[in-house]
């Protein structure tokens, strides 16, 4: 079912993460956790998957001596998201 859709994006949490990154230059890990209500461990796994696919970049810094993880989307990630949305449209309004 829905074979054309990118399996990496066709997941609730990964799609939510990429959607947030598409509209922002950088998003902190903590913000994604707040918005999705997902467990930090689960988000970390999905972030790692997206990073390994080259869809997102992960930047680790420090904020008040605590680690701060900032995520941003890559050009490859933007292209994958655009393709995914175009493929979705085919299912919603097939010609």
């Amino acid at each position: 079912m829905y074979k054309d859709l990118d399996p990496l994006l066709h997941s609730q949490l990964r799609l939510a993460i990429v959607s947030m990154l598409v509209i922002s230059e950088k998003v902190e890990f903590a913000h994604i956790k707040e918005q999705t209500n997902a467990a930090a461990g689960n988000i970390s796994i999905q972030v790692k998957n997206l990073q390994e696919a080259g869809y997102i970049k992960v930047e680790k810094t420090f904020k008040n001596n605590y680690p701060k993880t900032m995520l941003s989307i890559t050009d490859k990630g933007v292209k994958a998201f655009e393709d995914y949305v175009n493929d979705l449209k085919k299912y919603i309004s097939p010609k």
Partner: protein
């Protein structure tokens, strides 16, 4: 939140929700607008007082020195306060929007343009204020349009009007016009921006 078998409708709902939750933080922009609004308004009125007092005392030799000190000291104070405000904002920031990047580039180019305009005006021995206000108008109107915040765009138009108006004025009264331009173009829209709902 972890579901791998989504219908296309569910996928669109996730995308729509993520996008609709995105909010532009007006208040951060307002802090910087208000800081420079106050700094420059004080500098303009202080400059008017310096010129008025020293001219009446015929202490012409000291006018240049006090004028430079007024602008340099206040602008330096502005940059120091801005450094701490931006550091605090950066620490608390969880999302950095593309719009913030555009606005940052716009104002860096505007500051560069102020410097170029000042050099050209000194070289040509003409009054820089109309051009300075024109550049402020470009920056402020564009910021208002990008933030989709009408009072700021109108404030930018006020800068354009004052830019033309200053060509009809001369001497120390130019500084009063510039101060009024900043109040209408920057401070009032800045406070409206600060109190605006996100």
């Amino acid at each position: 939140m972890d579901k791998n078998y989504l219908t296309p409708e569910e996928s669109f709902t996730i995308i729509t929700k993520a996008i609709s939750n995105f909010k532009t933080n007006y208040k951060e922009s307002a802090q910087i607008f208000l800081l420079w609004g106050w700094i420059l308004t004080i500098a303009c009125f202080a400059q008017f007082i310096i010129l008025k007092i020293l001219r009446s005392k015929e202490a012409y030799a000291q006018i240049g020195l006090y004028s430079i000190a007024n602008w340099v000291v206040l602008i330096l104070i502005g940059f120091i306060i801005q450094f701490f405000i931006l550091r605090k904002i950066d620490k608390e920031k969880k999302v950095r929007s593309y719009l913030e990047g555009y606005l940052k580039s716009l104002w860096i180019v505007s500051i560069g343009s102020y410097l170029v305009a000042a050099i050209i005006c000194i070289k040509l021995a003409i009054e820089p204020l109309p051009i300075i206000l024109l550049i402020a108008g470009i920056g402020t109107t564009t910021t208002g349009l990008l933030l989709r915040f009408r009072p700021l765009a109108i404030g930018g138009i006020a800068f354009f009007i004052f830019s033309i108006a200053t060509t009809f004025v001369s001497g120390e009264y130019l500084n009063l016009f510039a101060g009024a331009a900043i109040i209408f173009g920057q401070l009032i829209p800045g406070y409206l921006l600060k109190s605006a709902k996100e």
